[in-house]
């Protein structure tokens, strides 16, 4: 297939969750004949099982379409899919770097959301050509004119050419394709220059090794070529070059401007970093492409195998997951309660949950996750600053001069009817009001300074539920500020359990302590002895609950016919125990380690 560089269009789709991005992508595949209707599975681009279940896109995909425009010219379109959740802003910036244009998809009844806005700004910074698409105009509640006006007011984009579309019915999809071809510039770069290709993603194939996804900026990459990774210096021979259509299809080469994948027997995950530049080993480029800035994980938690023997498997699994998820960081840590494990950094809570689920489903590991924490800065009395990623590592209270915690500036867009409940929520989460702006007669943008620790956990869910799903959120780091924080320890059966320590604001400590031990009492199963559960600040116990001892638990009757059945019952009981961690004499279920997250909602 030979399509000249000036007929290539690389673009991504920016959209809020549920605004119809995946459906639109499906429609584009269908209309260009990349997939026939019969081949279409619902929402082809979301391939990860988890993504389908949660209805969100986590990992990017890059798909090539061939489109014949109205004048009969053939174009090669590469869609680079982007995630829509606030946790994954970093992934968005990666896909933007591989594109020249973006479709801005906005729901015709909902309008722009905070996260979309942030992504559009990011796209504008990358000088991408933006094509506004007003989607779901088939719905009775659609107000395309209001939404157009909002886009003009808030983003400053000209919407006179905005496409009115319905990905569901297919209306306007042809027009979108026409605009992509007309408005988005072809990629620059010279096919004859030394090879420079940006690795924007990768996955691991157990037969072929690491498969990097590339956007070729200059030069050409083909089978048999010797390549070098410019950051790591590792060299490989290309064994396969291909594109996603959306199934992988082997091609001869990838030229400047094209998007695809290669296989090069890359066995070591660390040799192939997302953001690195691939060049020709025999004719290397002078300078690598500007890479990605390293992401800063916002949330940290401990990951421990339930069975200590699985430690190596857990490490291998994390190695593999981090391969196409540069935002996942981890280092070994040891807990008195949980043994050997890893302290892992994530972009947010959703990201954390997804990694946890993938470890369990894809790698079949039983893991215990400790409650997430942000990074605190503890200033000791001798003037030193200690970065605390793990609450149990907080210095002694007597040695602390003061503690600082990370703050963010949060932007919340919400219909004005819900402003009251959003303000209430922000106050409860120790927020400081900064600003309020009217985006239209009905919608308001609120700005708050909030401690990161208050929003990374369940703020988003709370925000959604207190606004019936209408609010949207975006935030950026503002730096560290002093707060009156204390470390709260949890003692189970008299022993402090390091994995359960948490850092909390002093004003909330008593309330949280009480709620936490109460929750723990419900979660820890009864044993044959009594188990006190206490919350403590320093040496002071602030709350206590008791798990009553189990006094009688035995099958009264067991005869011949019962054996199989009773054994099955016992096996079921044992299965439940697998998810528990033996800490001292006490078996603690996974949920208990996360209890700290849910205490705020229960009251």
């Amino acid at each position: 297939m030979s399509i000249s560089q000036d007929r290539i269009r690389n673009f991504c789709i920016i959209a809020h969750i549920d605004h119809g991005k995946s459906t639109l992508a499906d429609r584009l595949l269908e209309l260009t004949g990349t997939l026939t209707e019969r081949e279409m599975q619902e929402q082809v681009l979301d391939t990860m099982e988890l993504e389908k279940e949660r209805g969100i896109t986590i990992k990017m995909q890059a798909v090539r379409l061939i489109y014949k425009d109205k004048e009969g010219q053939e174009y090669m379109l590469n869609i680079i899919d982007t995630p829509g959740h606030v946790d994954f802003a970093y992934e968005v910036s990666r896909s933007l770097a591989a594109c020249e244009g973006a479709l801005l998809v906005v729901d015709a009844s909902q309008g722009i959301e905070a996260q979309t806005l942030a992504n559009v700004y990011m796209a504008l910074e990358h000088d991408l050509e933006i094509i506004p698409v007003i989607n779901k105009i088939d719905l009775p509640s659609a107000e395309p004119d209001r939404v157009k006006q909002e886009i003009e007011d808030v983003i400053g984009l000209d919407t006179s050419d905005a496409v009115l579309a319905s990905a569901k019915t297919g209306q306007g999809v042809e027009e979108i394709l026409e605009q992509i071809v007309k408005k988005i510039p072809p990629p620059g770069g010279n096919t004859n220059d030394s090879l420079r290709a940006l690795i924007f993603d990768s996955h691991y194939d157990s037969y072929k090794g690491v498969i990097p996804y590339l956007r070729v900026i200059d030069g050409t990459i083909k089978k048999g070529m010797k390549i070098r990774m410019m950051a790591t210096g590792a060299e490989f021979e290309v064994t396969e070059v291909g594109v996603f259509c959306p199934a992988p299809v082997i091609t001869d080469e990838l030229k400047a401007g094209e998007v695809g994948f290669i296989a090069a027997s890359i066995k070591n995950i660390k040799d192939c970093r997302v953001g690195d530049t691939v060049t020709d080993a025999d004719r290397p480029a002078d300078k690598p492409l500007p890479g990605y800035k390293k992401v800063t994980p916002m949330v940290f938690c401990g990951l421990y195998p339930v069975d200590n023997a699985d430690y190596d498997d857990l490490r291998d699994a994390l190695d593999k997951l981090s391969l196409n998820d540069a935002s996942l960081v981890y280092e070994p840590e040891t807990s008195d309660a949980l043994g050997f494990g890893f302290r892992c950094g994530f972009l947010g809570l959703l990201h954390m949950e997804i990694i946890q689920e993938r470890l369990e489903r894809e790698y079949n590991l039983n893991i215990i996750t400790t409650a997430p924490s942000v990074v605190y800065h503890a200033y000791t009395t001798d003037g030193e600053m200690v970065k605390v990623e793990n609450p149990s590592k907080m210095p002694e209270p007597s040695k602390i001069d003061h503690i600082e915690e990370p703050f963010v500036q949060a932007t919340i867009m919400v219909p004005k009817d819900y402003v009251g409940s959003v303000m209430e929520l922000c106050q409860e989460r120790r927020g400081t009001f900064k600003n309020m702006e009217y985006m239209s007669i009905t919608r308001v943008m609120l700005t708050y300074d909030l401690p990161l620790s208050e929003i990374v956990f369940d703020f988003f869910d709370q925000l959604k539920s207190s606004t019936r799903g209408y609010a949207s959120l975006d935030y950026e780091m503002k730096g560290y500020q002093p707060s009156d924080l204390v470390k709260m320890d949890i003692l189970v059966n008299g022993e402090p359990m390091d994995a359960l320590s948490c850092i909390t604001h002093r004003d909330k400590a008593y309330y949280r302590g009480r709620a936490l031990v109460k929750k723990m009492r419900q979660l820890i199963p009864r044993h044959h002895f009594e188990i006190p559960i206490q919350a403590a600040i320093g040496n002071k116990i602030i709350a206590r609950e008791t798990v009553k001892a189990l006094r009688k638990d035995v099958l009264a009757k067991c005869y011949g016919g019962d054996v199989t059945r009773k054994r099955k019952l016992l096996e079921k009981q044992k299965e439940g125990k697998k998810r528990m961690k033996q800490v001292g004499n006490v078996e603690v279920p996974q949920e208990a380690f996360m209890a700290v997250l849910s205490v705020d909602n229960d009251e």
Partner: protein, 378 residues
């Protein structure tokens, strides 16, 4: 090799509210069909056992309520079983009986036809509790049953009692024990009520119509029965079973030693030669299949050596004497302490298990928390 024979009689006058065994309301026509099929099944298996060189040394006829059958049918059953499986005077032959289905004539007949142990389901001595359980008899009838059994010549009687019945007080439980002990049965089985899912009693408790007995109360009742009966010359030899010296139930000991047994009749289970199987539950299908000339087996599982070891320890720990270490080694060529070193250690540390020079057994505490120990071995 000696094996146990179990014969299931799947009929009752009326099903008790706590029961989840396979049992149908009695009618003579069904009983005749059942009996014909049962005899056919006996015929197949008598040849089968003879081939293997297995000999029946205990018989247990349970249900259901075997004594719901008319005397003539009962006699037929016993005569057939005896001729097919050639038992002797030495063989322990137990039959379950319920008050309200027995009289002197019937009991004398079965005694003369070889039944030498009678197990009477009395369960409670208070009318209110008998109603809660859905029993068809009152206490007076139960009492008469026991007298009739003695008169018919039974020298080995078991009485079943239940504690932990919704509404039952500790005093009522003491009263039952006192009354029954007065009658001097050779054997007592005292079960804590298990609410089986789907039974009417379970529904009543789930819906809040009846209050379940608290765990504390159940424990007290359990302690009570152990203290009461052991002080009066009964040996507490299994979690729920008590016997005068020399009167332990040999058939049930076979289960607890995880020996082989053959079960006949609908839904009956069997264990033999690394296999477990059970029969079709539906009485009609059971009969059709058997009369067609095939075995009425519903499902059959092959056991691994590990399975047999697990079942041996699960059952063995139910006995107060525990699992015989030498016997285990002889049977499997492995020491039980080598098969589960970590688990045994942990349970000993927790005070649930005890290791003597000859046995591995539950401690006093372990007897009350058996499941906590059992679960470690599955």
């Amino acid at each position: 090799m000696q094996i146990g024979l179990y014969i299931h009689v799947p009929f009752c006058l009326n099903k008790c509210r706590y029961c989840d065994f396979v049992s149908y309301n009695y009618n003579p026509d069904d009983a005749r069909v059942y009996l014909e099929a049962l005899e056919r099944e006996m015929m197949y298996y008598s040849a089968y056992l003879a081939n293997l060189g297995f000999k029946v040394n205990t018989v247990f006829i349970g249900g259901g309520t075997p004594t719901v059958l008319e005397t003539g049918l009962l006699a037929k059953l016993l005569i057939s079983a005896r001729s097919y499986f050639c038992w002797s005077e030495e063989t322990e032959v137990t039959m379950e009986a319920n008050p309200g289905t027995i009289n002197k004539h019937k009991l004398r007949t079965i005694r003369e036809l070889g039944v030498n142990r009678l197990s009477i389901g009395i369960q409670a001595c208070q009318e209110k509790l008998l109603q809660t359980l859905g029993r068809v008899h009152d206490y007076q009838l139960a009492l008469e049953g026991i007298y009739a059994a003695r008169e018919a010549g039974f020298k080995n009687l078991n009485v079943d009692l239940i504690f932990g019945i919704p509404g039952q007080s500790l005093n009522q439980w003491r009263e039952s024990l006192y009354k029954i002990e007065n009658l001097q049965p050779e054997h007592l089985a005292c079960y804590s009520l298990q609410l089986e899912e789907g039974t009417p009693l379970w529904v009543a408790v789930e819906s809040g119509e009846l209050d379940p007995v608290s765990e504390e109360m159940e424990l007290e009742m359990y302690n009570e029965v152990i203290n009461f009966l052991t002080a009066r010359g009964y040996q507490h030899y299994e979690i729920s079973n008590f016997a005068k010296p020399g009167f332990r139930c040999r058939h049930n000991l076979g289960y607890w030693h995880n020996y082989y047994y053959l079960g006949l009749g609908p839904a009956a289970h069997s264990h033999m030669n690394m296999e477990r199987w059970y029969n079709i539950k539906d009485i009609k299908k059971y009969a059709v299949q058997t009369m067609k000339g095939s075995l009425p087996v519903a499902e059959r599982h092959t056991l691994t050596k590990r399975d047999v070891m697990v079942e041996t320890i699960l059952m063995g720990l139910r006995l107060t004497s525990g699992l015989d270490l030498a016997g285990f080694y002889k049977r499997f060529g492995q020491k039980v302490t080598d098969v589960w070193p970590r688990e045994i250690n942990k349970l000993i540390n927790r005070g649930l298990l005890e290791l003597t020079s000859t046995n591995l057994k539950l401690t006093e505490k372990g007897l009350r928390l058996g499941n906590q120990a059992f679960v470690e071995f599955v």
